[in-house]
Structures are given as structure tokens and as C-alpha cells.
Amino acid sequence: MKQIDFSVNGKAVRVEAEPDKPLLWVLREDLGLTGAKYGCGIAICGCCAVHLDGDAIRSCVTPVSRVEGKKVTTVEGLSTDLSHPVQRAWLEIQVPQCGYCQSGQMMSAACLLAQKANPTDADIDDAMSGNLCRCGTYPRIRRAIHRAAEIAAKGGR
């Protein structure tokens, strides 16, 4: 067990954990943040995507020791009141069906939009093809990313 300090959604946290325990399970089991989901455990499905210093990463294969001193953002950190442009667009387009993958989808989308304010369809293909959705909501995710770009451009954060 090792003491590891980092920040989650703007708050400093300290956990006692095995250094190789994946960040996903530290978030879910040690910090009680269940927005990031377990889907595959091998960085294929994207349900566990969170931001590490602004980059979208797969928390299911990221040892918690790697995040020491860094900033982690989870879906809970986008906003709790659904005010983030990605959340607003997801709600407006009614993207989710079962919703299990959508935390990861939104975190990947938020990262894309932070890097490219007005992504093309090709940009969306590149950024989002590693986030699987068994319900098949991709057409709406694509629309919602374009819509989130519009909302953000109009100053909606």
C-alpha cells in the first residue's frame, strides 16, 4: 500500500492503495465516484474514460501511481447541474439509451472539443471510435458534439 496524492474534479485527495491498482477502481471504490464505468478492463471500450491533466485516458489500465500529483477530471467534474456544453448538447439531442457508456463518451467528446473548438466529422471519427456503444447511439453522439461546439461558441462555457 502506498499513499498517493492527486486532485479529482478540483479537490485534493489522498488515497492508500496498491500502486498498480487501476485509477478506475480507486475512483469507484476508494473515492465513491461511480460515473466512470468498468466495461472491458483492457482499454478497448472507453466506458472508463476520464481526463488526466486534460487528456482523455483509460482509467481501467492506468495505475493510480501514475496520477500522483496530477489533475483527474471525471464526468462528475463536467458539472453536477448539467451546464457543461457537452452535457447540455447530450440532453438536448437525447443521446443516451442505456447510458452506461455515455460518461466515457462525454469525457472523450469534452477532450476533443477542448482541443478543437469546431471539430469535423473526420475529427469526431478519430477521437470517438475507441468509445463503444452497444445501444448504437453514434449518430446522436456525432450530432451532439457538433451541437456542443455551437453552445460553447455562444459562450455557454
Binding site: 487501476p22 471500450c45 462528475e76 452506461y100 447511439t137
Partner: protein, 724 residues
Amino acid sequence: MISETKVSRRFFLSAAAAAGGGLLIGSGLEPELIGALAQTQAKDIPLNAWLRISADDVVTLISSQSEMGQGVMTTLPAVLAEELGADWSRVKIEFSPVAPAYANPRINWQFTGNSESTTAFFELLRQMGASAREMIVAAAAKRWGVKPEECYTDNGKVIHRPLGQLAGRSLKFGDVAEDAAKVTPPTSPKIKAESEWKLLGKPLPRVDLPSKLNGTAVFGMDFSLPGMVHAAVMQSPVHGGAVASFDKSSVMGMPGVIDVVPVPNGVAVVAGQYWQASQALKSLKVTFDDGPNAQVSANSLNAQYRAALGGNVWKTVKTEGKAVSGEAMAGQFAEVFSQEYESQFLAHATMEPMNCTAHTTDDGCTVWGPLQGPQLTQIVLASALKLPPEKVTIKRTLLGGGFGRRLIADLPLQAALISRAVGKPVKAVWSREEDMRHGLYRPATLHRITAGLDKAGNPEAIAHKLVSPSILQYVYAPAVTDDNDPSCLEGLMETHYAIPHQRVDFKLLKVGVPTSVLRTTGYGPNIFAVESFIDELAHKAKTDPYQFRRRLLKDERAIKVLDTVVEKSGWRRRAPKGAGRGLAITEAFRTHIAHIVELSVKNNIVKIHRIVCVIDCGVALDPEICKNSIEGGTVWGLGAAFKSNISFKDGRTVEANFNGFRIAQMDETPPIEVHIVNSGTKGMGGTGEVGPVTLIPAVANALFAATGKRYRSLPLSRHGLKLA
């Protein structure tokens, strides 16, 4: 998937009786808040089993159906709210317990599946909402001393406004709820006409969405109890095998490990956290007895299917006209044409792996989980734990996908037994690998279709031979006999093509791998075969595949859907150079659906340019939810057509994660248009499963149009084809 046989009805009536309890009205409910637009602490007054009204005007609507993404916890409560005249911003939704009041009225059995939540509950819920409305109106009219006919409800209020008067008076629902509850429920309340609807027929804000967007939604994996421990489960890797021995000492002492517990077909490591349990499970020394299926492989299964198709053991399940068999057609028609089609094994692969939480004590058992089959779960657990059913309480979380897999109580039973063994509440989880290797798979199928044609190439006779393992065995055993399973035959028994002589022969195959219901059930493989074959006949007759189908179809709704998809897709205009278009149509789950796919192929890379889909599900109660479902089903179909495949080796499932079992992804998803035809509330259909049904043959037919090559077996990856 379910036919209403007398035997099954009897079984479920007795099963429901065994489940105990009379009609549950209001106070018997144990609130399980699952989604809400409104909150209240005030006292709730039940008007019937489906709705309660609080003193501060919050209307609580009961969802008997599980929410697995299909939007049912929005749409069915909206039926109640519509009839009641409720303010949608002041409702909250709860899942029902297991009780006879919440059984599917069509078969008297509580489950969520078969795309029939809306079709089975729509009329009942209209009546329950209307009944409550008339009780509220009667109570208010009495208080005002006026005639009930001069009163109506709207937006959470009951209003008195006699004919001809512009202004009226009103009371809030909460003001009259207590009096309304004392009114005798009317026996035949007046149902609103579609033209009067304010909530139905248009998109509503889904009640489950806010929580799904900020991490607060509680799926089974997210459910937690004080003092809860976690179990990681390993089952015999060979289907039908069992644990021979395990060495508890190999993991005791590892971080967090509490116990190692045998479960049916496997063993579970219990620890303080799931991560600890899953790590310890990897170190557990365990041996298995492989059982009788250790030699089962893709090759052995293929040989079994082929032997059955070539054999002479058949059950003739449909005869129309002369019902001539394929073999007997020679010489009777101008020409005889025959082809074979194959669909593959598929896994449900819900994004949320299988999991369930249980707390078993001497007094009873409570489970909390992502369940499609609450009543079956209650019966299975009561039987295994030797408890009366009323001592087994079933509570539902949101489901991270279902697709039929969560109808079965295999994991809930494991959770209950583990909890009993360790004396604590336990959440049992299958890793993704465990989940995929222990699927109850959509059975692969093998078809031979033979047609007797007239001189112009029109079919006069058709004979279909189907080889398939069981679909209903685990979810509706009474409907399955030694040689028949009605779900396997869906789409073959009720075709809308007017062909005078029809025959269907079936061979129910017993295989050494588990097979069960999966989105599209029998319709998927059968319509792939039928719609591919009809397309082949059209091309053989040198007739436009649309015109060929148009002439054979007699059903008005089917014709309207076909004409609409042709119009919306621009079918009559020539396809772009190098591209081909494919069409498929059917009725499945009571919904008429057609797809047109436009694609081109270069070096085996398939570029899909556009997909147009038209459905007629009667009335789309929430058109956005229906469209999302059909879009998603279309995407699912692309995965199933091109990529998804479960195979077997040495009795084991080969594919264990999403790197082996592939599903469609964003960059493979083309523009998809969905159009809805409204044919009225008389013929309501389901939309949860139909999406993939016509998409898959439409793809195969488009591939033929584009390349001249006919693909008759799935997935298309086996022919080297890949989505661009």
C-alpha cells in the same frame, strides 16, 4: 418470442400465484426512486396500483418495466400521465415490486423483453390513468356540488368550466387526492382520443437522462449498501462443466479476501473490494470437470447443423396451399430455385457486465440489480433458498443494456448464495471475460429455402427448412418441446408475401453450448434468409426488387412502409456510379419496418453512403425515443452483419472481450434517416428489437446490387469484407 399457448399460460398463472400476494395497491409498494422530474416529502395517496398523488401535487407513476435504454420508464408512465391530465414536470417514476398487478397482461408474467412493453401495457395504462382521472373529477365535482361532466383535468389540476363559459375554477390534484381515493374506481373510464393528446405522440424529456449525464445514475454496478462486500466469480470455462476442486488457502491472506465460496457451476472469491476479489481470483487454484461438451468446436457444430439439414428428421410447422416440400417441387413448376443461408452465434455484450447485489438472511433475501426478469428471479431464488416467494424481494437498478441477457437469474442466484455463505450483503460481478464466455448466445441458424417459380419467375410455392437450437429454453421453458420452439420460427409463420403454397420445416437442434433470447430473436436470422432469398428471386426475374416485393405484398401497412422507404430514399433514381442499393422489409414484433442501404465496395472495403429506414409501429408514443431505438438498432445491425461473431473451441467460448467480439463503432456509422408512418393506436408495435432485422438483409442485398456477388452467410467478415 413468446406464443400464447395454453400450457404456458397455465404455467405462468400458477407461477404468478406461487409468487404470492393479491393485487398490490399503493401502500404495499416499497418506493424505489429511480428517476424524477419532481421530488416530494409529502404524504402520497394511492389512487390505484399505478399512481399516487401527494398533498403537494407530485404524481408518482409506477414503471412495471425495467429501463435498459429503451425509454420505457418515460413512455409508459407518460401514458398514465396523459390520461390523468398530469403536469409532466411534477411527476416522479418508481419501479414496481414483483406483484400480479404489474404482470404483462398478455401473458400474466412480469418481465421486460420481446419488444412488447408498449404493446402489452398501452391499453391497461390508458385505463388506469383514465380511471384515476375520473375519480379525481368525481371528488372535485362533489366538493363543488356540480356535475362531473362539467369538469376535466389538465396540467395537474381539475377544472370546472361549464359549456359556454370562458372562465372556470380549479383545484390542484393534491387538494382532492384524499377524497378521490375514496371514490369507487369506474369500470369503463373514457379513454382520450389521440387528437386530445398533450404528452403522447411528441418527444418528452426522458426522465432517466439527467442522471445519466452527470454520473449519478445508479446501474447495478454502482449500487451499494452499508457493509456490502464484493464477489468475483469464475465458472467452468467449458460449457456444462463444473468445479472439481479449489484450494481456498491459495488466496486467503491476499489483500481484502474474506472467503472463497462455491456457487452453481463455479466459485467466487469474496473480498472487501471488487478489485481485490478480482485480483485474488486470478491466483485461486481451481480445477474443473469439463463435462460432456469438451470437444465442441466451430467445426463440430457446423457438422451437426449440416447433418441436420441433410437429414430427414423434420417437424412441419406451417402448411398453406399444397405445402409442397422443396424436394418435391422438381417437375411441378416452370423452375425450381434453392439457396442456403447462415447466421452466426452472437453475444449480448451489454456494456455493463453482469452483476447483482443480494442480501440473504434467515428471514429472507433481497436482491438489487439490473434485471429484466424480476418474477423469474423471485421464483428461482425462492426455490433455491427454500423461502416462500414473498420473502424474496426484487429491486431494480437501471440496466446498462439488456438485450435479453438479464432475463435469466443465473447471476442473481449466485449473489444470493454467496451472501448466505458469508452472512453479508454481496455484490457479485462477472468480469468482462467471464460475462462474454458465459453468455447465453443467440443461436446460429442454417436455412435452405426452395421456391417453385412460374414462367415469369414469380414464386408459386416456397419451402423453408430451418435448423436452429432453442431460443426460449431458459426464459419460457413451457413453450419449448422436444422438437419445437416458437421463437425460432418468428417471421416464417406470418410472412406477408402472398405465395399460394407455403411450407416450413423445422429441426430443433440440441447443441453443447447455451443459447437463448437475444435482440431480434428468431426474426433476425429468418428475415435475413427470407429477404435475401426474395431479392434473389427478384434479380432472377429481372424485376426491380421493390416492384417484385410490391406485387407480392397484400398488407396495406406493409405496402405503405415499402412505398415510403422507396420515396424517402430516392430508390427510383439511379444509384451513384459504382454504388448499389439494397432493400428489405418485414413485420417483426408487430412493427412494419423497411431499410434501404446504399453502399459501394472497393478492395473488399464497404463504404456505406446512406441508410434510410421507415417504420410503422402504430403510433410512436414518443417519436424521439422510437427514432433513437431504430437508429441504434441499425447500428447494432451493422455490427452483426459485418463483425460480431461468437465461436467455440474445446467446449469454450473463444471471444472473451471487445477485441474478439467486435461491435460497430463511430467511424463505421453512416448517416441514418428514420421516418415514422402513423397508422393509429389499433396496431401498436414494438421498436426495441426491429432495427437490425431488415438492416442486415438490406446490406446483403445492396452488396449484390453493387458487386453482383451474393453473400449468404454472416458475419460478412468471413468473406473478407470490412466496413470503411
